[in-house]
């Protein structure tokens, strides 16, 4: 029996007159690695931003573990402007800010790395531990929460150990080499103890060898942290090797989905990608 972790229902995101994502539905099951692929501007990152609460979708809903966490329908000026589908299907209005969604167990990395640049590697990860802080401002300031603080620090160090970042623990994060910055971003996301990890182009800017390492790394993470992974990626080798299932977006619309083999042989995908898939074959 598969358990659905994340479910997108007819997500449409419209900016002014531009429909970036149009009626996109998908599911991610527990323990899966699912990839969203598609040419540039297909709406992949926008979909991520909807899931993590950065953008409120124009229409549609998102469910996490069966509970609706986001839901919206065209309102205000959008009522007239709306150019997507499924108008009138959704009537609930649920909006959660990104921090709430992180607390519900979705963590993410960013396409263009967004570390806390002037802080150390250790601080970067430690900050993510602040999320579950129990002590209030006063007891934290007067160091009455020594136990909690020590636990946060210990967990941070454990995480750095697991991700092989202990040797750069006290370096300023922006001084790290690119690959380590990516890894630190993942470490930071893991520190929020997510059940679902969203990776936005984790292999961007990596050479084939680094990409291979990343493949193994993601597998290991999935097993060690009992994660479900949803990723956006352009490196086809990585995607085809690692994913259980793939969703293909083009111009904001879902054009194919299924196992890597299904998707590779889908004519519409080949058309959308032209060239890219030829390389892969």
């Amino acid at each position: 029996m598969t358990e659905t972790v994340l479910k997108l229902n007819d997500i449409t995101m419209q900016f002014g007159g531009v429909v970036a994502v149009n009626g996109f539905s998908m599911e991610v099951n527990r323990g899966e690695i699912v990839a969203i692929i598609g040419p540039n501007g297909a709406g992949k990152t926008t979909a991520f931003n909807v899931i993590t609460g950065v953008y409120a979708p124009t229409n549609g809903s998102v469910e996490l573990h069966g509970e609706t966490i986001i839901s919206n329908y065209p309102q205000g000026k959008m009522r007239k402007l709306y150019a997507g589908e499924n108008n009138g299907v959704y009537e609930q209005l649920i909006r959660k800010t990104p921090d709430k969604i992180t607390k519900l167990g979705i963590a993410r990395t960013f396409q263009n790395i967004r570390l806390f640049k002037n802080l150390t590697v250790f601080e970067n990860v430690l900050i993510a531990k602040h999320m579950n802080i129990q002590s209030n401002l006063l007891s934290a300031a007067f160091m009455l929460n020594r136990k909690e603080e020590q636990k946060m620090r210990r967990e941070t160090d454990e995480l750095l150990n697991i991700l092989d970042l202990s040797d750069v623990r006290n370096e300023i994060s922006s001084s790290l080499p690119y690959g380590k910055q990516r890894r630190l971003e993942i470490a930071r996301a893991l520190a929020t103890e997510p059940s679902l990890l969203l990776l936005d182009e984790p292999a961007a800017g990596m050479n084939p060898q680094e990409t291979n390492e990343l493949t193994r790394f993601i597998h290991r993470l999935k097993d060690d942290f009992h994660l479900t992974v949803l990723m956006i990626e352009h490196h086809m080798n990585l995607v085809m090797e690692i994913s259980d299932r793939i969703y293909v977006l083009d111009f904001g619309k879902l054009i194919a989905s299924g196992t890597p083999e299904d998707v590779q042989n889908d004519q519409r995908v080949i058309d959308a990608y032209l060239g890219v898939t030829e390389d892969e074959q």
Partner: protein, 293 residues
């Protein structure tokens, strides 16, 4: 309150609003392009007042006006060149601090050069001529202000919508870096923006000070703040918005004075700001901007 007094107050309000509108345009344009609250704008307006005092003392007003206009524009453009341009790539907070620094400098400079005592603003003869229509009396400046404001706004809007410079300005305000890559000489566009803003601040200062009659080193601070609020009210970045915001604040303030609450006329402006930020942070005509993630 009789109809005549009501009309009288209405005229005053519209006239004050016109001056506010002209200054607010300067704020909204600079913010639109540099995302900078130009804290020095109010002080440019104050300096324009002082320039006029000294110019009129030594030459006839018809020579003084173009000269002071030129000096004010020069001051505005120089400030941009010296204090803002070197910080183009710095964090936005640095530019804001620099703007505050310029404001501080101009105020201290004015205190040093002209002393802290208020000085009388010269009477420009034709502006002070008073009119009597029935029981209603008003000086010409009161009547001229709204029309002049609307005329200048109209000219500015056609400049922005129909000239090459205007197109460049719109491009730079939409996306600063891309327009630079597209070959727009952004430094020239920015200078032009400051020139226009300062020019309008000059016109605003003539209208405002002719009415208020004195200038002192801090007389730019509060009008400056209010005009920024006017720009926020209208939707920062929108020129018609700034004009309407200016009129709303001018009329509202005058109404409060007329009703006997003059102490709170300044507080009124900021109360409006807070209410606005609560319910419609983008202002009356502002567009919502989504940050790219």
């Amino acid at each position: 309150m009789s109809g005549i007094t009501l009309l009288q107050h209405g005229l005053t309000g519209i006239s004050l609003g016109g001056a506010y509108a002209l200054i607010a345009i300067g704020y909204t344009m600079v913010y639109g392009i540099l995302r900078l609250i130009n804290f020095a704008h109010g002080d440019i307006f104050m300096m324009a007042g002082y320039f006029m005092i000294f110019a009129v003392a030594s030459m006839p007003w018809y020579l003084a006006i173009p000269l002071v206009m030129f000096l004010t524009v020069l001051l505005g453009v120089t400030i941009e060149r010296v204090a803002y341009k070197p910080l183009r790539s710095a964090p936005r907070m640095s530019i804001m601090i620099s703007a505050i620094g310029v404001s501080y400098l101009l105020q201290n400079l004015a205190t040093y050069l002209f002393t802290a005592l208020p000085r009388g603003y010269p009477e420009i003869p034709f502006l002070k001529k008073s009119f009597h229509v029935g029981e209603l009396s008003a000086s010409l400046v009161t009547l001229i202000t709204p029309f002049l404001t609307i005329l200048l706004t109209f000219l500015l809007m056609s400049l922005i919508n129909h000239t090459k410079l205007g197109m460049a300005m719109r491009a730079v305000s939409k996306d600063y870096e891309t327009s630079q890559l597209m070959g727009i000489k952004i430094n020239r566009v920015i200078s032009a923006t400051f020139a226009i803003g300062s020019l309008l601040a000059f016109v605003g200062s003539v209208l405002y000070f002719t009415d208020r009659m004195t200038v002192f080193p801090f007389s730019g601070t509060l009008p400056g703040l209010k005009c920024f609020v006017a720009a926020v009210l209208g939707g920062i970045g929108s020129i018609p918005g700034a004009v309407i915001g200016g009129f709303i604040l001018g009329i509202g303030e005058t109404a409060l004075v007329a009703l006997g609450y003059s102490t709170f006329s300044d507080a009124f402006t900021f109360a409006i700001l807070i209410v606005m930020l609560l319910f419609r942070p983008t202002g009356l005509f502002g567009e919502k901007v989504t940050d790219k993630v």
